[in-house]
């Protein structure tokens, strides 16, 4: 049991923390910004993984080409071919494979229905065809290679998004890799995925 002095010290420490200007700024962030930041973090992990495996990864802007400054990422799901902003993607090569990582791009599933994929790995030739035709990428064959659902939870994780993810990947053909990536662990989600995978 805490005595009154200990409790007062704790309350004072929490008050000091929450009144710091940096804390005020972070506490007022829009949750959509937190979600987008988490996706960018997963993109950066993918880029790092390619480099560690001996490959190359370079950011490109759809309008400006290599090394865009600033780097512009999608703040909401959209078209891979959109030129309304200088949206960036990671152009990668590993051994004799060329591919790209994209954030928040819409794909057409095997059923024909559109799906938003938080972080995706797409075959480079297919991505170029999409940009050249202003079309939509497909999630079948060897076009969409990996799909990551990213979630920055602000509350206890439930299984709802896990169910959505299982439905999404069932419409994506033969993915080489798929993952549900989150900032918090959840035994409930673990149990659900162990059953559905």
């Amino acid at each position: 049991m805490a005595n009154n002095q200990e409790l007062d010290e704790l309350l004072s420490a929490i008050s000091n923390l929450l009144n710091l200007p940096a804390a005020q700024q972070l506490l007022q962030l829009n949750s959509n910004t937190c979600e987008r930041a988490y996706e960018a973090y997963v993109l950066s992990l993918c880029v790092e993984a390619v480099r560690r495996a001996g490959g190359t990864a370079e950011l490109k802007g759809i309008l400006s080409g290599p090394n865009p400054n600033p780097v512009v990422l999608r703040g909401a799901p959209g078209s891979m071919a959109s030129r309304n902003q200088n949206f960036a993607f990671a152009s990668c090569a590993l051994r004799n494979k060329q591919f790209e990582f994209h954030v928040d791009v819409e794909y057409q599933g095997t059923s024909g229905a559109p799906h938003e994929i938080d972080v995706s790995m797409c075959d480079e030739a297919h991505a170029e065809a999409v940009r050249n035709t202003n079309g939509r990428p497909k999630a079948d064959g060897n076009k969409l290679l990996m799909a990551f659902e990213c979630k920055f939870y602000e509350s206890t994780p439930g299984v709802g998004l896990g169910r959505t993810f299982v439905g999404l990947i069932s419409d994506c053909g033969a993915l080489r890799f798929k993952a549900f990536v989150a900032n918090l662990t959840s035994e409930k989600l673990g149990l659900y995925f162990s059953k559905s995978s």
């Binding site: 049991m1 805490a2 923390l17 929450l18 972070l26 703040g75 959109s82 509350s155 206890t156």
Partner: protein
């Protein structure tokens, strides 16, 4: 420091008031959602035929002590994890700054306001992390989800 339910109730009252006065609306929403989802726990060991017919888990409301842990976890994600993510993104992508913009043909900027990476790494963020670590020394992390 070991908190009783009464201690935790006082602490919760103060923390939620501070968050309200900080206009941390979405953090408060997340805490409320966690309260609504409750705590999953295993049923105690019992014998009997009926127990074989039901699931071994149930949901109950969080205690005050558990809610304090939930609030501290939400604060940890906002105040410690987000700036750490921002630093990792900047380092790995080699980008001075990252902007999040929408395709305005389809999406309103009212709903998805433009944001930048520097929003997640404010000045003196190191002091913030130290201050949070001090609080965590006083109230260590407890795992509360039991399923």
């Amino acid at each position: 420091m070991i908190l009783t339910e009464d201690d935790a109730a006082k602490l919760l009252h103060s923390m939620l008031n501070l968050l309200q006065s900080s206009s941390a609306r979405e953090v408060l929403d997340g805490i409320e959602e966690s309260r609504r989802l409750g705590i999953e726990e295993l049923l105690p060991e019992q014998k009997g035929l009926e127990l074989k017919q039901v699931a071994r888990t149930r949901r109950r409301p969080p205690t005050n002590v558990e809610l304090v842990q939930i609030v501290l976890e939400r604060l940890h994600q906002r105040l410690v994890v987000l700036p750490t993510l921002a630093s990792a993104i900047s380092k790995r992508l080699g980008a001075q700054d990252v902007l999040w913009r929408v395709d305005t043909e389809f999406v309103s900027t009212d709903r998805f306001p433009e944001a930048r990476l520097s929003d997640l790494s404010p000045d003196s963020v190191d002091n913030l992390m130290l201050a949070f670590a001090e609080i965590r020394k006083l109230i260590p992390v407890q795992t509360i989800e039991r399923v």
